[in-house]
């Protein structure tokens, strides 16, 4: 980053810089979005219902789960509970990212959280840690690029769904874990990376083998956070 730039140049460049930063993950979102559109049509959604789901829920993993559970004719409350279990990680994201939104107005915050999907959270956190700040333009440049590509490929998926091949034969079913792995590795320089990750993996596998999916997300996350809290230096008992 050119710290000698004039303020208005920095600001103008930031939205573009944010959009450009998202280019590295857009290729991962495209097939994921297209596949969702195709599967939603197969599950009996009208195209506009698939678009509505993607535009308003905007949480791909939970939308896939919804399709799967609808296919098993489960009740709406059961479906919503399972989706909540998957999406509970957003509560943690929200608490963490909120610390970096000091420059955002109320309305901007409300919109920023609405656009906060996994890659946007991960990128925002990394940006804030590396540069010490998270600007509105950079954030929205990044987040809106992700949203636009997600919606575009959803529409392509609902329109040309039949052209999408069997996901497993192309390894497309494994794009998401690899993509999260890439995001995760971006934090490998953070303090406590290995112990926190180790606890999260153990907790996740333990929950997966007992209660099953999607509870491994919650169990693993809390195990990782517990280790982070335990490792943290505790302040002497003065003050609050």
């Amino acid at each position: 980053m050119d710290t000698g730039a004039l303020p208005h140049e920095t600001v103008r460049g930031d939205a573009l810089a944010g959009g450009l930063a998202s280019l590295t993950i857009l290729p991962a979102i495209a097939p994921f979005g297209m596949l969702y559109g195709a599967l939603a049509i197969n599950a009996g959604f009208e195209p506009w219902q698939a678009w509505l789901a993607s535009a308003t829920i905007y949480a791909g993993a939970s939308q896939y789960l919804m399709l799967e559970m609808l296919g098993q004719s489960l009740s709406p409350p059961a479906i919503l509970l399972a989706m909540l279990a998957i999406n509970f990680r957003h509560v943690l994201y929200s608490a963490a990212l909120g610390r970096h939104l000091g420059q955002f107005s109320r309305v901007q915050k409300a919109l920023a959280f609405g656009l906060m999907v996994d890659p946007v959270f991960a990128a925002g956190e990394q940006r804030a840690r590396r540069t010490g700040t998270l600007g509105t333009r950079w954030y929205f440049g990044y987040a809106l690029a992700v949203y636009a590509v997600w919606m575009l490929f959803n529409v392509l998926g609902t329109t040309f769904g039949a052209l999408v091949p069997d996901p497993a034969s192309w390894g497309l079913d494994y794009v998401l874990p690899l993509y999260f792995l890439g995001l995760l590795m971006g934090f490998r320089a953070s303090a406590g990376f290995a112990p926190v990750l180790g606890a999260a993996v153990l907790g996740s596998i333990g929950m997966h083998l007992t209660l099953g999916a999607p509870w491994h997300i919650l169990g693993g996350s809390l195990a990782g956070l517990a280790v982070a809290v335990w490792r943290a230096p505790s302040r002497p008992a003065s003050g609050s």
Partner: protein, 101 residues
């Protein structure tokens, strides 16, 4: 499920998704300034959550998935996320072809 029922389910899920996204922040701002231990937990959120998300797919998915993930993880030390995915998928597809063909 009826068309209207499905639309209502979608909208209910949308409201819920938004509440999870803004909820963590709304709860946390009531507790500022943050205790160092809370601060440490928030710092660890990306590592803990992303690790928990992918652990079963990598460790319980089978040998092809595990090897592809190890390769992808090594690639992540040097290259961007696109290459992590491309290399992982190529290894996975080749290994799956070997084991089924």
């Amino acid at each position: 499920m009826s068309d209207t029922g499905l639309t209502l389910l979608i909208l209910a899920a949308a409201v819920m998704a938004y509440l999870t996204r803004i909820g963590g922040h709304l709860i946390l701002v009531r507790f500022t300034p943050l205790h160092p231990r809370v601060e440490a937990a928030l710092e660890a959120v990306p590592i803990a959550v992303l690790g928990a998300l992918i652990a079963p797919a990598i460790l319980l998915g089978g040998p092809a998935e595990l090897i592809a993930s190890l390769v992808a993880g090594a690639v992540a030390l040097r290259a961007s996320t696109v290459w992590v995915i491309v290399c992982g998928i190529v290894v996975l597809v080749v290994l799956r072809g070997l084991t089924t063909g």
